[in-house]
Subunit: 479 residues, 2 copies
Amino acid sequence: MANEKKQVEQITDMEADFGQWYTDVCKKAELIDYSSIKGMFIYRPYGYAIWENIQAELDRRFKATGHENVYLPVLIPESLLQKEKDHVEGFAPECAWVTTGGAEKLEERCCVRPTSETLFCEHYKNIIHSHRDLPKLYNQWCSVLRWEKTSRPFLRHREFLWQEGHTMHATAEEAIAETEQQLEEYATFCEDVLAMPVVRGVKTDKEKFSGAERTYTIECMMHDRKALQSGTSHYFGDGFAKAFDITYTGRDNQLHHPHQTSWGLSTRIIGGIIMTHGDNNGLVLPPRIAPIQAMVIPVAQHKEGVLEAARALLERLKAAGIRAGIDESDQSMGWKAAQYEMKGVPLRVEIGPKDMEKGQCCICRRDSGEKVFIPLAELEDTVARLLDEVHDSLYARAKKNLEDHTKVCRTLDEVKQFMETEGGFAKTMWCGELDCELKMKEEAGVSSRCMPFEQERVSDVCVCCGKPARHMIYWGVAY
Amino acid sequence: MANEKKQVEQITDMEADFGQWYTDVCKKAELIDYSSIKGMFIYRPYGYAIWENIQAELDRRFKATGHENVYLPVLIPESLLQKEKDHVEGFAPECAWVTTGGAEKLEERCCVRPTSETLFCEHYKNIIHSHRDLPKLYNQWCSVLRWEKTSRPFLRHREFLWQEGHTMHATAEEAIAETEQQLEEYATFCEDVLAMPVVRGVKTDKEKFSGAERTYTIECMMHDRKALQSGTSHYFGDGFAKAFDITYTGRDNQLHHPHQTSWGLSTRIIGGIIMTHGDNNGLVLPPRIAPIQAMVIPVAQHKEGVLEAARALLERLKAAGIRAGIDESDQSMGWKAAQYEMKGVPLRVEIGPKDMEKGQCCICRRDSGEKVFIPLAELEDTVARLLDEVHDSLYARAKKNLEDHTKVCRTLDEVKQFMETEGGFAKTMWCGELDCELKMKEEAGVSSRCMPFEQERVSDVCVCCGKPARHMIYWGVAY
């Protein structure tokens, strides 16, 4: 059995090589495959199913707050991309350019969208005329291209899947409220659905989105104590609206520019799930987005009545609204146990001849390895309860990781020492100057993660220059 | 009120100019907008919501038959596209080519996928090794690009949304069974969900998909008696598998090539819905995919209690699982009636002070204009029943159109006369030769639509050359 287990696992220990462990999990859990284009990945059925569950839940939440889905073209003419100066500077270096259509060279080359602010603005100019047309609360599910030099499954693709919300509002106040509301939507989604605790905050000017006035972010801490920016929400003011000449007639009969937001969350979050919850046996999926929440495994399935009993459990679980599967293959118990550990299935439900005699089954938790024998009559209730318990326990563990490795530092040396010995989020004060931000990167190897909404005054002076402090800020090493 | 109605409608009568009527409906019902790239359209919220409902229903059906969703890259290296000769000949002339990524010229240019057979084959080569790996039943929801010269909303886009199924099987028999199963899936979906009757059949060699051995199709007849190819399913044999060197070890321990299928249905079907059911007041949506199935409209809503009564109806409808909306705006009743006619909402539910006194509401059908007053207690049951009746009635009307305008013709002259005077599907015998197919196009302006599964022997000789007949075939003018 040890051998069979080995056949499935063969993954590097995370303590030995975290990067290799991560890649192994992505491959061996069959989440992803490589394509012949560098940096472009194939989302395999199990990986895509996780994304579908994320999509379904986010989509429901977006619609509940009045957002509507649309689909805009995948190509952006170069002149359109150039309309907003900061924006084009940020994205043009990473664009993939279409220059030929059919047999003809295009009069103007087009980029494959890296993000769609410009396209939305062009459309909004057509459809926004009066204050009655506002707000416009649109969202798009699509893929985007960014021609990056390095790549890593889920974390950095040249093409990745995401949603991008783009909204227009009559006033700055409304737009800012939307930006904050959507950031909070991401935060509660991560916490309540993905069991990932987040730090909510504001990006520095250096780290904000190209063209934005302000960028909000949620930052998560991975097992290796690095930071993952997991969702962002941007307030644009009326900068794009001016560049695209979008106006509306207000209640005052005057022309005004509307105020704009955008917000996005991508398949990178799946990388975050892996690195937050995974262990040396493979993936550990938070139950609320697991494609299979409970896998039924017949024990000694050749014995009379076992398969029928296992199938009966499967049907009962499905009828109770639980995403359940069954493995009736002729693989050994050891192989099956290892396989569904690798795939991070939250619960295994086993039933064999002895269990049948006793009117029980065995439920095994992926997160803790704990096994419980329960009377068959209690199946649905127990599985539902255990799924919630697994969620809570994953969240608590990740929260502890975040808290244990967030440290108040008062000097640059303290930050350096913390990052060198332990790693995590250095919580410091900051004067607000770019020079200090650059120096932190150069000397301590950290980038600013965010200025948390919940500010504390952990010191009176900037961690870097010693001048009067303006913000509490988190620093870390980011994916 | 006539004036107000005018404000909303302003669409061309279909009898006056069918093409203009169609474009008017697409724009005025707010399904679509133009972008700055010729032939690339914006799917607006109402149009996209129809697609979402189509997606949800098809996706459920695909999964019920064991299909899994995946996502493969949007770009295809030129060398990959060229691996299957017939395939590249069919698609290369319509490809959009990416030649630059970031600042660098690519070593090999890539096309934005026009369809993904080649990408799936590359992936299948990686993951298919043994008969245990078969079948692979994958589907992908995405957009594809085809650089066409002309364009028309939904019917011909340079970028359109679709699903593409790609499957691999151990034997030809299994692959053919899959091809036929998926065609039947499309057919029943069109009939049972979209209320669109279809003709199921096989394409001629001339009309089949580039690289396929056999293409199955469903063909629908539009109001103007033209044909719309609404879904296709292809059997490839092992041609791609050989070109891509995909093999598996069979139960016999020998290497074999697997057999392949693909099948697709696109947003073009929305064009089909419009041209099958629409009328001179605008869109008419089949209830089972209508984003709003019933729109509640308060009458004299400033009067005491009216809004509350209307909202109560809305909540009851929603609770009964009906997609319902309410229009509380200060627009007139005439405007509202015209607006939801234009948008093709199957039922309007009106309630005003007089109705409240009588404990009733008024339900108005979009398809027939019929109004019924019903006791409030019967709301949910009546709405559910009427939605089914609307579906049946739309289907019956479309079926009558198809049957009334399908005519047996025995000579080329009969076909010419039929197409010139009446138009529709000419049902004839055919010898099976390409020459006759080309001559039919040249002389009668018709293309072969399909050789229906249900063959009849309507004559002994080919409609064109008079030689012995091999197939019954439908001819028509196609979108």
